[in-house]
């Protein structure tokens, strides 16, 4: 598309954290008026690279050239001054402040007397939002009452307010529903028309093929390839990302599937769990696919008793049960490995031993006293069984790698001897090796008769691991597909399907 020279070039960038090299001699450039997709698995170095571009990290080695001049970014202000703005994945807005203020914070228009010109702030914000076809957003609303998609447009407006030449978008569609994704893609195209260069970080192949002009793949902190989008197909990109073919990545263990252990009928909670019915059998892996915000995590939270169902029935092994709290869920044999490992899964400051025993601490006690010896023994066993790499079981969990942290969370829940194990994004932020190990663990569990519900954003994982795929969109089941029939196309279509009667 555009063959003009690059506006920003990063050359041989390297970065280490605590002795671990997370980025090795990576080069990357962006031209005006192009969408350059940045691809890679979690931990491949994408976010480190864009954080160096936006001035949050300083590189250990390498040079940044902007418009022909070599620059050093030591703060985000430096990057901003060079015309680079970022829309972060975890949107960095101020919830208590208005939309207009968020757009111009730190960059206010002033009156002649030097005070903030609020009328101008509001007028220019209105302008920017109108340019983004966002006529439905009031500039005086507080950000806390906005949806994710609206917040994102505020972030984009903020970037535009600084006359950004380069816009970095970190997984901009990860938490959008389909209609908002379409709208965002329209905005991206419009920005490209205006000559803005866009770094587009995403996992979603359809978007990348629809938007990108060029694509760069990173793996394990190293540069794998940069290609024009016309030169590659999806399979090539995936194998570049993972460094091997998909078949070997998802070792589907053959387990004998037994009787029904969990049956859910017309389950409801709020707007995100609506009339959900399904059955789960022993030894089965039920994959749940759906976009972020589709209601998949909400379904898990309802089954786990965090947000108890407002109507509908749950049967465990044929008996009708009520699940009003995680405690009840646990006692019924339901375990949940949550999506946000750091916040919901682990107490990072605590030792591995104490994390492993956390859900079973009453069972490990006589009277009110914790049986320390047994606790330590169980933790040691868990470390061995799941091959958690650590110095000892007294090591704080926060010091472990992402994959080993995830194994600690799984270990905690295996201690409860669950009949139903719900895994929410079990391999997010986990390196490729640990990912395979977690998949192997899942295989062993189903052989022992555990029923697994696996929620994942990664379609290859869902397709590779599941016996059956349940697709959720808008809080409702939009597809139930057997392994044999589960193709990316069918699942993808169901993910974006909308059932009638929806008022989203």
């Amino acid at each position: 598309m555009s063959n003009s020279t690059a506006y920003v070039s990063l050359t041989d960038m390297s970065k280490s954290f605590g002795g671990v090299k997370v980025l090795k001699d990576v080069s990357f450039d962006v031209r005006p008026g192009e969408v350059h997709a940045l691809l890679g698995e979690n931990g491949a170095g994408k976010s480190t690279l864009i954080k160096m571009m936006s001035g949050l990290y300083t590189p250990d080695a390498g040079t940044i050239t902007v418009d022909g001049r070599e620059l050093k970014f030591s703060t985000t202000r430096d990057a901003g001054a060079a015309g680079i703005a970022t829309v972060y994945q975890e949107l960095l807005l101020f919830p208590e402040l208005s939309v207009a203020e968020n757009v111009f914070l730190g960059n206010y228009p002033r009156t002649a007397t030097g005070i903030i010109d609020w009328a101008e702030v509001r007028r220019r914000t209105r302008d920017l939002l109108d340019q983004l076809d966002t006529f439905d957003l009031d500039v005086d609303t507080k950000v806390l009452s906005l949806s994710v998609a609206q917040r994102q447009r505020v972030e984009i407006a903020k970037a535009l307010s600084k006359n950004a030449r380069i816009l970095i978008m970190d997984e901009p569609t990860a938490s959008l529903v389909e209609s908002d994704v379409q709208r965002l893609m329209a905005v991206v195209r419009q920005l490209r028309e205006r000559g803005v260069g866009i770094v587009y970080v995403s996992h979603r192949m359809p978007e990348i093929f629809a938007l990108a002009d060029r694509v760069t793949v990173l793996r394990d902190g190293a540069h794998v390839a940069t290609r024009d989008i016309g030169e590659v197909d999806e399979n090539q990109l995936v194998s570049m990302m993972v460094g091997r073919s998909i078949e070997s990545l998802f070792p589907k263990a053959q387990a004998s599937i037994g009787g029904t252990v969990l049956r859910v009928t017309k389950l409801n909670h709020g707007r995100h769990v609506r009339d959900i019915s399904f059955a789960l059998r022993r030894g089965e892996i039920l994959g749940i696919a759906g976009l972020v915000g589709s209601g998949r995590t909400e379904l898990a939270l309802t089954l786990f008793g965090m947000t108890p169902a407002t109507s509908g029935e749950i049967e465990m092994e044929g008996k009708a049960v009520r699940i009003g709290s995680p405690r009840q869920a646990r006692d019924l044999g339901i375990a949940y490995v949550p999506e946000d490992r750091g916040l919901q899964g682990l107490v990072k400051a605590m030792a591995i031993r104490k994390n492993v025993s956390m859900a079973t601490i009453e069972r490990l006690s006589s009277g009110i006293f914790i049986k320390a010896g047994e606790e330590a023994q169980r933790a040691l066993d868990a470390v061995k069984r799941l091959s958690i790499r650590c110095r000892n079981i007294g090591q704080p969990v926060g010091e472990l790698s992402g994959g080993n942290q995830q194994k600690v969370v799984i270990a905690k829940w295996l201690e409860t001897m669950p009949k139903v194990l719900i895994l929410d994004e079990p391999t997010r932020g986990v390196d490729v090796g640990a990912k395979a190990e977690i998949h192997t663990i899942m295989g062993e569990l189903v052989k022992q008769g555990v029923a697994i519900i696996m929620i994942s954003s990664e379609l290859p994982e869902v397709l590779g691991m599941s016996d059956r795929v349940l697709v959720i969109s808008g809080g409702q089941i939009t597809g139930e597909i057997d392994r044999a029939d589960a193709t990316p196309e069918r699942v993808g279509a169901a993910m974006t399907a909308h059932r009638s009667g929806e008022a989203a």
Binding site: T76, E96, I116
Partner: protein
Amino acid sequence: MTTTVEATARSRTAPQRPGFFKRLFAEYGQEIVVLAAIVMLFAIVTMVNPRFISANNLTTIFSGNAYIAVAAIGMAMVIVTGNIDVSVGALIGVLATISGSLAVAGYPIWFAWLAPVVVGMAVNAIIGILVAYARIPSIVVTLGALSILRGGLISVTGGTWITDLPPDYLIAQKQIFGLPVPLVFMVVLTLLAAFWMRYTAFGRSLYAIGGNAEAALATGIPIARRTVAVFVIHGAFAGLATILFATQLQVIQSTVPPNLELTVITAAVIGGVSILGGSGTVIGSTLATILFATIGSALIFVNVSAYWLRAVIGLLILATVLADMLRRRGRGA
């Protein structure tokens, strides 16, 4: 093209631009609630006892508590950044002693007025540095500062009162344009501070720091420097509050009202400053101070025993907090 159609169809039910009052209420909800409470209280108590709005009583309500309102301005700023200061009561005591002693010792009056402001800023600069650069939580630092200042006050004064203050020094008893000086101080300082917090980039950055420190850093706001600065400004307001406190009587007592720091914090919080940081205004904190003063005075006028005064005030504070929590929950979900 379909995108645009869909987008329009999906547009929220909210109108393009909500009405003026709706916006006013969205932004100053808590302040309006407090103001309404004050007005209602005045109306009701005046009906019961018309002497309630006598000039004399109004002076007591507004002027007698102006120093708390002034101190609450600085406190509100500190809390907006997500910090807290439990030492301000003791600081006011120390500053009052310094100021009074200078006045009695024959230093120029302006010097006796200036000193508490400067010393207040200096003391809080140290507190701010410990919070911002040594990374000690503000509650710990100010707890320590509370002990130091309280101990310092008693060991210096030995419990004796400062008397024989020069008449010119007693500015809180004077009038400007027929209005009591403390009232003028309170109103002018509140408006100035409110303006500063709303119309300067510096003022706005306090909300950013308290609301989302990580995002503030990404926006390029120097958090540590601003934190020190806000404590220094808070020290200046403590100094100004001291001037009003020290000059309202003919003597300066060696103690400040018990739990003065908690009164100041409560005023800020009831006025709408979130204890978690990131929101609230100084107009709210001043209104809340007036509300407490009005309640206190009203209870006397409707013949509630003075002994039950604090219990009733405590109950009202609790009710306000619970109401605010329910309001927030209704909105936040």
